[in-house]
Amino acid sequence: MKILVPIKRVVDPYAKVRPSADGSGLDTAGLKFEINPFDEIAIEEAVRLRERNGDIEIIVLSIGTSESEEQLRKALAMGADRAILVETSEVYDSPSIADELAAQVNEIRPDLILMGKQATDDDANQAGQMLAALLDYPQATFASKLTVQGSVALVTRETDSGEECLELPLPAVITTDLRLNEPRYIALPGIIKARSKPLDRRPPTNAPKLRTRITRYELAPTRSAGVKVNSVDELYQALKSKGVV
């Protein structure tokens, strides 16, 4: 069985990122870059599936500049078998990422595509579903539990009102949510071993066809502190005077 995990290099999700002075971009100078945390959960889940089921090849793939090699090497250190870097400096939106991934899937032919539900930079939550549509594969988004038996995936996914369990025939696209697992700590032997694992660089199949483009970035308005009250009674009176209780 073959699992493809597409990953994205994103700015450190815990860093404070500000728009550039003219609002045309983001100022990421001096900030660290990481694997999108939801994609990291996808890598971890693929590795756990291999630990449970055996005989699984895990391929990680990233679309981006040569800097994404850093994230692909980390994925290899976590346990992926080989990496593909679709090397490009072009700007992509979610539909064009899905287009390129679909072209790659047609060549790689994985049985399962595991990826983050969204990237923590653009928060779009589109690429996985779009990829599933292009391939006409079934999808399960927001996965919080996954088992694979033969050619069937059993997925528990989070919903607006609780959760549901879906049975999907493979091949399928599954996007990961926070509670699926906690990615492992990478030990030194893994990092050393990752250096000798294959990393294949290739150009994109097609130039990206953008459906949207970001024209401006601005800081979100922030709230300021209000007043502190001294007792529950004062709080109650304040709420009452505002007409909310």
């Binding site: 607006d160 926070l178 709080l235």
Partner: protein, 296 residues
């Protein structure tokens, strides 16, 4: 062609998108996938599918595809379900997609939050049609007369089998539409305490219950109650945070609330920097006391 279609997974969603539809300044129609249509939202055509429940994304995206023909804009309220289905639909339509729209600049330019809500991006749409998921908080509903509803059939044949579904909502209002929300954090110890303290005040106020990611991860509250960047984005009239320190993650989900009240025994908790009303107190004393006062 300049025409909007609202996909309402639940009837109330259409009402909350009327303000958004009005800002596009073009006629709009509505498909009610489940339930009955309310009568006064100002839609030109009203389609009623009358589904018992919405099928998995592969089936529903395909099922509504032909009904989307001829529309320049297709919109739903932002939710896990709408993101699941509409992103698939956008791809089938060969269209563009903008998720979590918070404002309309023109029919092709929208604003949306990125980077956990810390930055607002202006997005220009380069392709027709465009599929949008919209956060209704920034749009006030408008009313108008509807025409008679027309029945439509939506095929729900999926290759996916729904094995089981759990809905833990109960009788409380839905978090994303509630006027009042009482939320609790990790200090609530266990699910019973959480339900008694947080649930008790919420019920007294006729509100919904929310929780932090820490409380959900600790098994104190169900995942569907999680408020924040990776959970639900809420915008109630009143948000009461009990025992919540105010992580960036949580703040991203509550900052559109009209009035934020924080009750926390740590005077330095970051939540006090955004709360309109703050009370430094032990939640075990303060929350039941507040509940008693509201009931008196």
């Amino acid at each position: 062609m300049a025409r909007t279609l609202i996909l309402a997974f639940e009837p109330s969603e259409a009402v909350s998108l009327t303000g958004f539809a009005a800002q596009l300044q073009q006629p709009f129609d509505v498909i009610f996938l489940t339930g009955q249509a309310p009568a006064d939202i100002g839609a030109e055509r009203v389609f009623v599918a009358n589904l018992d429940q919405v099928a998995p994304a592969d089936a529903t995206a395909k099922g509504v595809l032909s009904l989307c023909e001829g529309y320049s804009h297709i919109a739903s309220v932002s939710s896990m379900r709408s993101k699941d289905i509409l992103a698939r639909l956008a791809s089938l339509l060969g269209g563009a997609m903008v998720t979590d729209v918070v404002s309309v600049e023109s029919n092709t330019v929208y604003k949306r939050p990125i980077l956990a809500g810390s930055v607002i991006a202006t997005v220009e749409v380069l392709q027709t049609p465009v599929v949008l998921t919209v956060r209704p908080a920034g749009f006030s509903p408008v009313s108008g007369n509807d025409s008679a509803s027309e029945a439509v059939t939506i095929s729900s044949e999926s290759v996916v089998t729904v094995v089981s579904q759990t809905s833990r909502g109960g009788l409380r209002p839905d978090l994303t539409r509630a006027k009042v929300i009482v939320s609790g954090g990790r200090p609530l110890k266990d699910s019973e305490t959480f339900e008694r303290i947080v649930g008790g005040l919420a019920d007294r106020l006729g509100g919904a219950v929310g929780a932090t990611r820490a409380a959900v991860d600790a098994g104190i509250a169900g995942n569907e109650l999680q408020v924040g960047q990776t959970g639900k984005i809420v915008a109630p009239e009143l948000y009461i945070a009990a025992g919540i320190s105010g992580s960036t993650q949580h703040m991203a989900g509550i900052k559109d609330s009209k009035l934020i009240v924080a009750i926390n025994k740590d005077p330095d908790a970051p939540i006090f920097q955004v709360a309109d009303l703050g009370l430094v107190a032990d939640l075990y004393d303060a929350v039941p006391a507040l509940q008693a006062l509201i009931g008196s």
